[in-house]
């Protein structure tokens, strides 16, 4: 069922929804971008439909809505741990197809990996319903969702297309039908991007022998000088899920405090460092290799269905050193092709 809703009516509907839901969407933070006089677009609660930035790609992904960058796990006094609490309200997220597909990857890590559920993720995830936002035709320059097969989804409650004066809404979830009862009915289902300007070829890594040769590729070394290990790529990634836990005490008395987790980045030098100082993957190139292989090789090897990377391209957009992840994948594809060719030639000889 589709409806054509005016901006004014949409805002009234949002107001109604806000009684039960916190509504999140990409929002513009003026002049808060990395460079002077540039804006930052990231997820935040909205109060009106005009707050939604629908015609640009957000710098940061919606993962932070349900997987906050800093999250208290427990509050402790001297002798006990108390689980942190969350708001009762349910959550609506305006999200692109790639991000909705990305949440499935987060679900895999937090709710399935190791056969246990992370309750901090679960308790927020359970509250989420998606409002699918259509992308512009072909997506944005750095998008490669089609290559990653994450350009489509049917996992949404509402879908929206922003027009000049109206918003077209598709309702898939009956819960919301009543709200739109008085609106003008129209034929509308969202259209998905079917081709991106950026395309990637995923190398097929089918043996540990090949994997070892990939480890030795010179291409990784080129990132030793290019990558500054800032972790901007992982911070914006919808599928990056790593975190570090730490305890902090409140300054006033030093006796109570919290155990919290904060996002961590495998691109940072200290990601693997253990108490005692031993660490692994000491160069930027090795860390780049680790991240690349995780996104387009070993996640799928472990969980079977799909690669971790959804091709949102945010890492490309946000890298201050202009390293393109899409280009990295394609470079690896070419190198793997060469390695395989060399192997076949050797066999013939």
């Amino acid at each position: 069922m589709g409806y054509c809703v005016s901006i004014k009516r949409m805002n009234e509907i949002l107001k109604e929804l806000q009684k039960e839901y916190k509504i999140y969407a990409p929002v513009r933070f003026e002049k808060r971008g990395r460079y002077s006089d540039t804006d930052l677009i990231r997820y935040a609660e909205i109060n009106s439909i005009e707050d939604v930035v629908y015609d640009e790609k957000s710098d940061f992904s919606p993962k932070e809505v349900i997987y906050p960058i800093t999250q208290a796990l427990f509050y402790f006094t001297e002798y006990e741990y108390m689980e942190s609490k969350i708001d009762d309200k349910k959550i609506l997220i305006f999200a692109r197809p790639c991000d909705i597909n990305g949440f499935r990857r987060l679900d895999t890590i937090f709710l399935k990996n190791g056969g246990t559920e992370d309750i901090y993720y679960k308790r927020l995830r359970e509250k989420v319903k998606f409002i699918l936002m259509e992308c512009k035709e072909g997506g944005w320059d750095s998008c490669f969702c089609v290559s990653m097969g994450s350009n489509k989804t049917d996992d949404y409650s509402l879908a929206v297309r922003f027009e000049d004066d109206n918003i077209l809404v598709e309702i898939k979830d009956d819960e919301f039908t009543n709200l739109f009862g008085d609106e003008r009915e129209v034929e509308f289902t969202p259209e998905f991007v079917t081709s991106n300007p950026t395309k990637v070829n995923i190398p097929e890594i089918d043996s540990y022998e090949l994997l070892k040769k990939i480890y030795d590729l010179d291409m990784w070394k080129s990132y030793n000088s290019r990558c500054i290990s800032c972790g901007a790529c992982t911070a914006v990634c919808i599928t990056c899920s790593c975190f570090t836990t730490l305890d902090v005490t409140y300054t006033e008395n030093g006796k109570v405090g919290e155990r919290r987790r904060v996002h961590a980045s495998c691109m940072h030098e200290d990601f693997t460092i253990m108490a005692g100082g031993l660490s692994f993957r000491k160069t930027a190139g090795e860390r780049m290799r680790f991240r690349t292989l995780h996104k387009i090789y070993d996640y799928k090897l472990r969980f079977k269905d799909e690669h971790m990377c959804v091709g949102c391209g945010r890492c490309d957009e946000r890298c201050p050193e202009l390293i393109s992840f899409a280009a990295t994948i394609n470079r690896l594809y070419d190198e793997v092709k060469k390695l395989k060719k060399a192997e076949t030639t050797k066999d013939i000889k």
């Binding site: 933070f29 003026e30 002049k31 808060r32 971008g33 990395r34 460079y35 002077s36 006089d37 930052l40 990231r42 710098d59 940061f60 906050p68 960058i69 800093t70 500054i228 800032c230 972790g231 901007a232 992982t234 911070a235 570090t244 730490l246 902090v248 005490t249 919290r260 904060v262 996002h263 961590a264 980045s265 940072h268 201050p320």
Partner: protein
Amino acid sequence: MSYDIDIKKVRRNCYRQSKVRGEFMLQIRVPGGVIDAKYLSFFQHIAETWGNGEFHLGVRQTISIPGIKYEYIDEVNKYIRPYIEEIEVNLCGVDMVVDDNGYPTIGARNIMACIGNRHCIKANIDTTDLARKIEKVIFPSDYHIKLNISGCPNDCAKAHVSDIGIIGITKTEYDYDRCIGCKKCVEACAHHATRVLSVEKGKIVKDSCCCVGCGECVLVCPTGAWTRNPKKFYRILIGGRTGKQTPRMGKIFLNWVTEDVVLGVLKNWEIFSAYVMNNKPEYIHGGHLIDRVGYNKFKEMILKDVKLNPEAMVAERVLWAETEYRSNFNVKPVTQR
């Protein structure tokens, strides 16, 4: 050919005397160093028609055209009339009458600026825009002032060696929840700036007192925890100069002031200069004028009717550090007092 030329009059018209008798170099103003590329052919025409075919990228970002014979100056002045009109009046909004006589004064020198945030990753301000606004305030004037604008405390435009130097700074703001404690900002601050950041309990603590406002923390922050306050802030340095006798670095006069304050201060500059020189402009630069009456008098006059923003900080004293090419240069015989 024998010449009888009032050199000072020609200089005031922005033509500088050449070692070749009767030849001059025209210094064309380019406020802030940025103008449309279309003017390149205009400069080329002057150089090839009246000059010696070359041009110099003036150290104060003028387009300088050498080899112009004295007798062509009138023709050249007629030719540059539309340029002065377009740049000074239309682009910068300077309140002046443009005629066939070329530039009216050389006193307030071309305003120098780095490329600023129209291009530069590090810049905190639009230096070009500010230069044009300041041009309107200081030009034309017979009182000499060299004014340099840098987009960030890196100071590529050398605000530290100008009479008045302006540096774009940013008040960075910290979002505790977005910070992952990765220390990239701490490293960047220690490497590029003044080591004001440190980690405490997994988050960042800032010693605001010594922050130079460069914004390196914003540039390196992976999560957007550090952002710039959208309001633009400026640092004003005074009294810097080069020169044969007592070159010196400028010192901070105002810190964390707004554009309104910058423009307000500059509006008072001519009044201050006129006061120091009894309304008789001499070829003496700003730093020397401050020296003559002392910093306190300068401060009183230059801040007159300027409404300082709440964040503003004002130097109580200025401790000059001059390079004295003769020891005790400032200790002079009574006759030269």
